[in-house]
Every structure is written in C-alpha cells, then in structure tokens.
Symmetry: C2
Subunit: 438 residues, 2 copies
C-alpha cells in the first residue's frame, strides 16, 4: 500500500504560504517534525468551534462537515459542564469504586445485545482495537485476522498490523489477510454472498499457510474503504462464515457508533448481527479521550487469566461524565433520528445535483456518514479532482475530507447536530465548486 | 512470571463485605467482569478528592500517598479551569493548526536536551511505549529489546511484550530479554558496572539467537521493580553499552517524569544521560488523558517514512491546556524543590523509624517516590506483611501501594503537593500499624 490514506488532503510542505501562516507551519514543523500532518493546501488555523461550525484565526467561519469526534457538536455546554464538574470533584483510576463509572458502564451496556455484557474502558479507539485483537487471539488460540483492503483500525503496533491503510511501503504481516471492501461495483447486487465468499477465501489462505484464524475485524460502515452501508444486512453472511471457521467477529464501531448511521446507536445492529467483540472510540466522549471494548464475560475472563490489564486513564469518573453527557444529549436532542432525517435530505439533494454534475457518483452511506465518488470525464475515479474539490469547498467555507483506496471518495461526516439548512448550504457550495471547475 | 504485579493489593472477590459495599462491588463486577480489579480487602468507594486527600462515600477522608497521576494535587483548580475553558472554546485534532498545541509543544520540548527536539503527543503512557518501540525498531532494523525483570511499560500488545510484570503465565516473547533490576543487594556498590554487564549479556543472548538489538528500555526510577534511584549516574554505563551494541535507549518517564524525583523534571537527567527516545504519560495532564514521545527528528522521520501515524485525541488543545497548566503549577508552587524537601524529610523520619521497627527496610527512592522493603523476622522479603500493612494503613486513613517482584515493597508516591506535616502523619500511622502488629 503505497497510498498513505492518513495523509489524504494533506498539506505539502514547501508550498508558498502567506507570512503568518508560513510562520505557524514552521513552528509546528519544528516541534512535531515528520509527524506533523496538516490538512489543506493552505493549512487551517483554528481558534474556536461551536455546534457544526469552526472559526479560523482570520475570523472566517466554516461549516464543519468533517469532524465526527464532536458528535453532539463542538463545545457542547452539557458535555463541557459535566466534564468540568467531575474534574473538580473527583477523577481517579478504576481500582477504586466510583458512582460515575459504575453508572455509565451499566447505561452503556444496556444499549448492547444481552450477550455483550462486559465493558473495558480504554482511552482511544486504537487501544480498543489492540485489546480486542488480544482478546480474540487468546480465546481462539489463533493469530490470523481478516480485514478489508483499505481498513484503518488504529495506531498501535497491533492495530497498525490490521490497518493496511497505514502502510506506506510493504503491507501487513502474513497473519493478516485482506478482502475487498463490500463495494457494489465489485460484488454486484448480492454483496452479502460475494463479501462472505471473499472472507472464506481469506480464511482458507490463512489455513493453507498454517495460521490459525482468530477473527474477522470490520468497521461496520467501512469508512476508510470508501463508505459502504447498503443494503443493511449484507454483513450477516460474512459473520456466519467467520464463525463457521471458528473465529470471532469484531465490530469496529469507532466510526459508525453512537448514532451516526441514523439507525440506532450501533452499526452492527443495522446488519442484524451480534459481534463477539465491539470496539468504541472517537465520538464516545465528544472529544474527551475515551474508548471501550464491549464483549462477552467468557472472552474477557480468558484474556485476564493470561494477562494483567489495567488502563490508568480508562475508567475514570471524568470519562464517565463525558460519556454520560453524550448519551444524554443524543437522547434529549433526538440526534439519531435527526441524523437519519438530515442525512436523507442530504442524499436526496445530492441525487438531484448528480443529475447535472457528472463529476459526482451516487452518494453512499447511512445517516450522517456519506461517501461520494469523484469521477473524471470518463467516469473513472478522480483523486486529484477530489483533492481540488475539497480545497475549493474550504474556500467556500465548507470542511469535508477524502477516503477510499485511491482517495477519490468525498467523505462527509459532520457533527450530528448539522441542520437541514446547513446541509443545503453545503450542497449549494458543492454545486458552485463544480460549476467553477466545469 | 506467575505474580500479577498489576493486581498487588487487590480485592479478592468472595470476601464478605458490608451490605452497601457488597452491592457496589457486585454492580461493578457485573459490568466490568474479570477485568475489574479493585484495591484493598474492603474496596474503597470514593466520592471526592482535593490536593493530597480523597474522601470516601462514608465521609472518611484519606491521605493519598499512592496517586501520582494528580501530580499537582487532585482537582487542582488551575488545571480544571484551563481544561474547561479550552473544551468550551475549541478542542479539535491536530491536522488543524491551533495556538495551544503549538505553544505547549515548544514549552515542553524546551525542558529537554536540544537533541530531543521532536514531540508526538499521544493519549497514554501505553501509546507512548508502543510508538517508542516501533520508532526504535524502524531506526535500527532490530526487533530485540532489553528490559528489567519486573518492568511494566504499558497495556498494548507491544507494550505488554516488554512488560514481564503483566504475564500471569509464561513470559515475554524471545525478542525481549530481561536483566535484574539495579538492586544494590544484587550488584553491590558498583551498581553501574554490574547493571551494564547484565545488559551486555542480554544483548549477547539476543545476538546468539539471531535477533537484532533495537534498544534498552528502562523506567528511570525502576518503579515496578521496587524503586531503584541511587546512586544518580548508575544508568550511564548501561546506556553506553546499549549504544555500543547499536541499539537505542528509551527512557520511560511515565513514573519519574514531571518532577517526581525532586531533581529536575526528568529522571534520565539525574543519571546524566541523554536517551534517544523518551516516553511520557500519567502525570502529564494531572489526570487529563495525555502522553507523549520525545525523540530526535531523524528517528521520527524514519518511522513516518514507513508508517502513517495519527493520534486523534493526541495533540488537542484541551490536552495542551491541561499539560500547560501542569507546567505552570509545578513552577508557581515550586513543586520540584518541594518534592525534594518533603521527600528528604520523609526518608529521614523513616530512617529513624526503622531503628525501632525491624519490619522495615531502608527507604529507597528520590523525591516523592519511595520504595520501602517489608521484612519478616528473619529479614527476608515479606509480601504478606506488606499487604497487611497496606490494609491497616488504610484503616488509619493512609493510602499507599505495593511493588517489586514479590510485592513486598511499600510504594509511596503521593501528589507532589504533600506537605511535611502530612508526611509526618503518614510516618506516625506507619509506626502505629507496626506497633499493632508487633
């Protein structure tokens, strides 16, 4: 995988920038070195954010259709107040009992199928993936995992091994096998069967090399692969195939989870499946660093019999306060139904736009997670066109991103509080950018 | 390693508990399953904390001599306000420029030797270890690491592999070799030479098995091994030996860092060495989840040429606000000098106490990190005695922990704001507990 999907829409150092921005970028580069990745041809210097908008240092306000971490909106006062109050009162690790942590765990677990009754609180989606892989390996005795071709599941060493998207040279180790993303262009109408067959073939390839199968790991909306959500239920045959081969199923809910799909809290439920392990991250605390692993008690017990595991910042009262406030706001503001409604409106408007803008493919996705292919005049994927469009949208005050193996998929993933009129403004801006380019 | 060092001083389920506590523990166990580890024979149910004290649900106030995460004190208002203000204003990932992140990185890096000029902000010490291992492996082409026998460096899969203390059965993989902790009882007066020879032997053993040497990884105060700090400088020969063998030196500053040793911010500096990579965690944000890797630009560049690395919650303005406030308070309240002073006072009082209490060994350590051996009547390590003492100290309102390969080392590691009179109260309580036991 020579394509660095983590650097899509990245600033290329060396480009000329206005004086103050040049200085800011140089300072940043001096401290963060080669690890500094910035978005946009002209990096964005932010000073404030609220709801679905962010404000830059020059006073420009942007509509944020990119950031899923602040799922209930940037700086939501209920979340900020809950965290601040808890930080001032008590924030300790989980070897002491605290009411906040006990109550949050019960509340979160109540949203899962009954079999998934245990929670490990972590700090990040990466820590969640890492732990999930270890739990699956311990339970099955296998080391082999199957993931999609452009999957991204986190930044630890173990999480990177199951993230083909993170390799700039070479690719994952032999115990990780990839399958194509569940793309209707590849698998046709019966995506479910085609995807399951690909999973079976990957498991067979592991077996042929003497590698025991531990599990199938999928982001249930296939974000970095380019966003594949439909038809609901297509995941079920692959899940059955993984189980038949003795493996576990890990659902990565870092992207689809907490209501983004507009169809309940969890992406796996849209597919009518119950995973063995679920990983949580990004939107869980609206920006407070927290993640989680939800699994069956027998799997967790097998793991902890072999390894001590403790996460200092994991199950703290402040994290529980943030997580609880997110669940409160999702419910009070009806944000899951809202995501379905505004997402549906957005897809309808994009369908209309597509009729006169051949550079756009059909909008895929669910709720407020959309992937829209960028196409050239021959209808082929157009990554350069996507990059231009993303930068021109920024000039018109709209922030989105890119995804997919080629980087040609426009990624639209706003805070769930985005309004229908804000969605309209985005479609109008997209139309104007495409008109400029035509 | 059959000893689970992460579960020292752990509550043993099945013990009879008062009604309300029994219910709290049952609720906790129902949600967290086998992953639930609680301290003490009677778990502690906390409701508030401030400075170096914590308050339980029954109204009892305890002096906290255990928790190093709230390094400037539980609920320090400056840190709480800084985080709350930033969360309300802007908290975004680091692909946008933000003043808070740029300024914090510069300020933190200014405290390191000039060669260590790049920072990667992570969320936890575990993420920092995991990344440091990958950077070292990429730079050297080796996979082999040398660590101490009861080391603990984090909870990811990669971090666990270099943490013998986390294995309940078996031990680390073949590419990880252990050396004895730098214990004067083992190495005598010339700890530096003895420890370096052990490191050389471990590197030779890796080479004999055809495993390339990537680096030496040490907690510069050897916390989980039982706290070994003296004489300052003893680490230098081992560092030289690792370099001579072509490996890098990783200093884990999660425990000694941010002033705990009372001798500057960093434990490695006490030893007069400059590591290639430094890992940061626990006290960095006084409880706000944050960690970091500080390294040379060439090492970071080699890593990022091979792998995409991005940490969503890592370099956020809220983390920078927390980290900046911690540096402010450390300076404004003179907490490093204070740690040296109160730590010195505590060691002097413990030396006096030891004269009449043969169950105590000499207090080792630096600043406000102390390890005190618990001994039986024959002067042998007494883990059961340490456990009893820790529970009896809790009954007298004092919280400490255990460490070391046998669990017989009393671990004293309070918030750095602990006062001399609070230290006196602890010594008096310890004396009373030992009198009761005599």
């Amino acid at each position: 995988m020579a394509k660095d999907i983590l650097a899509l829409n990245a600033f290329a150092p060396g480009a000329g920038l206005p004086g103050d921005l040049e200085r800011q970028v140089a300072r940043r580069r001096a401290s963060f070195g080669a690890g500094s990745v910035l978005f946009y041809e002209r990096p964005l210097h932010l000073v404030a954010a609220r709801g679905a908008t962010v404000t830059a240092a020059d006073g420009t306000t942007y509509l944020d259709l990119y950031n899923n971490v602040p799922c209930v909106g940037h700086g939501h006062p209920k979340v900020v107040e809950a965290v601040a109050r808890q930080l001032a009162t008590l924030n300790c690790h989980s070897r002491y009992l605290t009411d906040a942590v006990t109550a949050y765990a019960e509340r979160l677990l109540a949203t899962f199928p009954p079999a998934l009754s245990n929670l490990v609180m972590t700090c990040t989606g990466s820590e969640s993936t890492d732990l999930a892989l270890r739990i699956a390996a311990q339970a099955t005795g296998g080391t082999g995992f199957v993931v999609t071709a452009t999957a991204y599941h986190g930044n630890s060493r173990a999480a990177t091994e199951v993230s083909p998207a993170s390799y700039k040279t070479g690719g994952p180790p032999a115990f990780v096998r990839t399958v194509p993303a569940p793309d209707p262009d590849r698998f046709g109408a019966d995506i479910g069967s085609g995807f399951a067959q690909a999973v079976q073939a990957a498991i067979a390839a592991l077996a042929a090399d003497g590698i025991g199968f531990a599990g199938l790991l999928v982001d249930t909306i296939f974000s970095s692969d380019g966003v594949f959500a439909d038809p609901p239920g297509f995941l079920a045959p692959a899940v059955a195939a993984a189980r038949q081969a003795g493996g576990l199923v890990i659902a990565d809910e870092v992207q689809p989870g907490f209501g983004r799909t507009g169809a309940g809290l969890w992406g796996f439920a849209r597919h009518g499946v119950v995973p063995d392990i679920v990983t949580l991250g990004k939107p869980m605390g609206n920006g407070y660093p927290m993640g989680g692993v939800v699994t069956r008690p027998d799997l967790l017990a097998a793991f902890t019999a072999a390894f001590g595991y403790f996460n200092t910042f994991g199950a703290t009262p402040a994290a529980a306060a943030a997580g609880g406030a997110v669940l409160d706001v999702l419910a009070e503001e009806g944000l899951i139904a809202h995501a379905a409604e505004v997402g549906g409106h957005l897809r309808a408007r994009l369908a209309d736009l597509r009729a006169c803008r051949p550079a756009l493919g059909a909008a895929r996705g669910a709720g407020l997670y959309l992937g829209i292919d960028c196409l050239d005049r021959d209808g082929a994927p157009d990554a350069a066109g996507a990059s231009r469009l993303i930068n021109r949208l920024r000039d018109r005050g709209m922030l989105i991103g890119a995804a997919g193996p080629l980087g040609h998929v426009l990624k639209v993933r706003p805070p769930l509080c985005l309004t229908a009129s804000e969605a309209d403004r985005f479609v109008d801006a997209l139309d104007a950018c495409l008109a400029d380019a035509a």
